[in-house]
């Protein structure tokens, strides 16, 4: 890095480089970072939407993970999103973060969300828990498909 006139504070305010830092190396099992613990102990957007525009049920309880996700869409934008999860701390935290990231996004933007985006937003999760983050985005994408199907078949707004 060149020394120029750059303020040293910039170094600290910059977003962390996601490459290679997203997934922590094999740490002891419960070594979740503060942000993951926060989303686990206080998950956002938990609940159900009665008159949802899109719904998804994914996972299999006998495999230890199941998730339900509902979305409400207005003018092509996700205006409400709720989830419920039977899963490990990684599944609960990543699902929570997924709903936070999808809220307010257009359908197009939400479709582009990936599991890596969620892990990056959570500043990393233990490597063997990386697969958990797939649940949230998979459910989100499936709920969007459900919404789109209803649009075409039901002749919605």
């Amino acid at each position: 890095m060149t020394k120029k006139s750059q303020d040293w504070k910039d170094l600290y305010s910059k977003a962390p480089e996601p490459e290679g830092e997203m997934v922590m190396p094999d740490e002891p099992v419960l070594f979740y970072n503060e942000l993951v613990i926060d989303h686990f102990t206080n998950p956002r957007n938990v609940g159900e939407i009665e008159d949802a525009d899109g719904y998804a049920l994914i996972g299999d309880p006998s495999c230890g993970d199941q998730m339900k996700l509902w979305i409400k869409v207005r003018d092509g934008r996700i205006v409400d999103i709720k989830f419920k999860s039977f899963g490990c701390p990684g599944a609960i935290a990543t699902s929570s973060m997924c709903t936070v990231m999808a809220m307010g996004k257009t359908i197009e933007e939400a479709q582009k969300l990936t599991d890596d985006d969620i892990i990056a937003a959570l500043e990393g999760i233990p490597a063997h828990k990386a697969h958990c983050s797939l649940m949230g985005v998979t459910a989100l994408h499936e709920a969007i498909r459900d919404y789109e199907k209803k649009q075409t078949s039901g002749g919605g707004a």
Partner: protein, 397 residues
């Protein structure tokens, strides 16, 4: 690595309910060990006085351990712990009796030290029968009888299951093995300190124990080998341990092991009584205050300290982390499988559906736990289960 604020916050509270994983070293045991690190550091195989003194400590410790399990000193082999004892017993017999047969009988609920060893022997041409258990987690001695064949050379069954605390009918299986002339090994790692251990009453030829489950040091255990049992060493080298386990003896640990076993033998009956009351307190309160749970193995005789509880419709690791954040330490399944996504092989063998096994926590109590701690844990569980059930996508029940 950044530490979690949450994790630091609870460092002043610790309620340890994972004694089947390991236990804290008893201060008197540490005292016993200390001289053999510095002052009396000699090698028990050396000729000079320092070595002879070490040898004396080694043999005294062996006598102590032997006397406490009803064995002769020459029948006790010190090892690095339960896993090595199990390996030496199973591989040692398999190698010694290969000409005679290649069939081993064990159960589906054994510790991985036994299961993986048997699986490894299957790769070498051995055939292994994994006996089923009933819904309460107990093997049926008649099944053992039925599965004995001409090629059977070894029966290996645990005395007490580490996940449920269920006591297996070892004496009965021992009789069957003896009548059939088949060598019988028991992994008694979880029985030490909880049940009387007498190799004569149990009718066993081989018995594994370890020190760190009874407030002794880690890295030391023993295998009882009945005189005349054919056994080939796994670890080869010097003439240590009657040529059955090479390697310089870990004297501080051995002295500590002997001390821990004597202490636990003296205190066992009183300790077990008070621990049983604590478990009763835990289970009755959990049953009264938390709906949709089951206590696994409760229908069978169990050791006094273990309670394996399934909380329906929520995930065990999530419960565990919430407990951890409150400074309460328990485990899902056995400590060695924590972090593996597979549900417990023990609960599976008992017929517990995977989605219920997934929500199981093992609490294993010890001599230092108090009634107040149990009440704190129950309060925490009431809160945690309510919280997680508000999030879950499954219907309870």
């Amino acid at each position: 690595m950044k530490k979690n604020k949450h994790q630091e916050a609870v460092h002043n509270i610790m309620i340890y309910l994972d004694h089947n994983a390991t236990t804290a070293l008893e201060p008197a045991v540490l005292e016993e060990m200390l001289p053999y690190f510095r002052e009396q550091f000699g090698n028990a195989s050396s000729y000079y006085r320092l070595g002879r003194e070490a040898k004396e400590v080694l043999e005294q410790s062996r006598e102590t351990v032997a006397a406490l399990i009803g064995a002769q000193p020459a029948e006790v082999i010190f090892t690095s712990g339960g896993t090595e004892s199990d390996n030496l017993a199973i591989r040692g017999i398999a190698r010694a009796l290969r000409e005679k047969g290649n069939h081993i009988i064990t159960s589906s609920i054994e510790h991985h030290a036994v299961l993986r060893t048997c699986e490894d022997l299957q790769n070498d041409g051995f055939s292994v029968t994994y006996l089923p258990v009933d819904g309460s987690g107990t093997i049926n001695p008649d099944d053992v009888k039925r599965r004995i064949g001409k090629k059977t050379i070894l029966i290996s069954l645990m005395y007490v299951n580490n996940e449920t605390g269920v006591i297996q009918p070892i004496e009965e299986v021992g009789k069957i093995a003896r009548e059939a002339g088949i060598i019988f090994h028991t992994d008694a790692v979880q029985a030490a300190g909880k049940l009387p251990l007498d190799v004569e009453l149990l009718n066993v030829d081989l018995l594994s124990i370890t020190a760190h489950k009874i407030h002794g040091p880690k890295g030391i255990g023993a295998l009882y080998v009945r005189r005349g049992t054919p056994l080939r060493p796994v670890m080869t080298g010097g003439h240590h341990e009657h040529n059955l386990r090479a390697g310089t003896e870990n004297l501080p640990a051995i002295a500590g092991f002997a001390k821990a076993l004597s202490l636990v033998s003296e205190q066992r009956e009183t300790e077990v009584r008070s621990i049983a009351l604590l478990r009763e307190r835990l289970e009755s309160q959990v049953l009264a205050q938390i709906p949709d749970i089951q206590i696994n193995g409760a229908g069978a005789p169990r050791v006094a300290n273990t309670s394996n509880i399934s909380f329906y419709s929520i995930d065990g690791e999530s419960i565990l982390l919430h407990l951890d954040l409150r400074g309460i330490y328990a485990s899902t399944g056995s400590a060695c499988t924590t972090g593996s996504p597979e549900p417990s092989h023990v609960l599976r063998a008992m017929g517990v559906p995977d989605s219920i096994a997934q929500g199981s926590i093992r609490f294993s109590l010890g001599r230092d736990n108090t009634e107040q701690e149990i009440d704190t844990v129950v309060d925490a569980l009431v809160e945690i289960t309510a919280h997680l059930r508000a999030i879950t996508s499954l219907k309870a029940g």
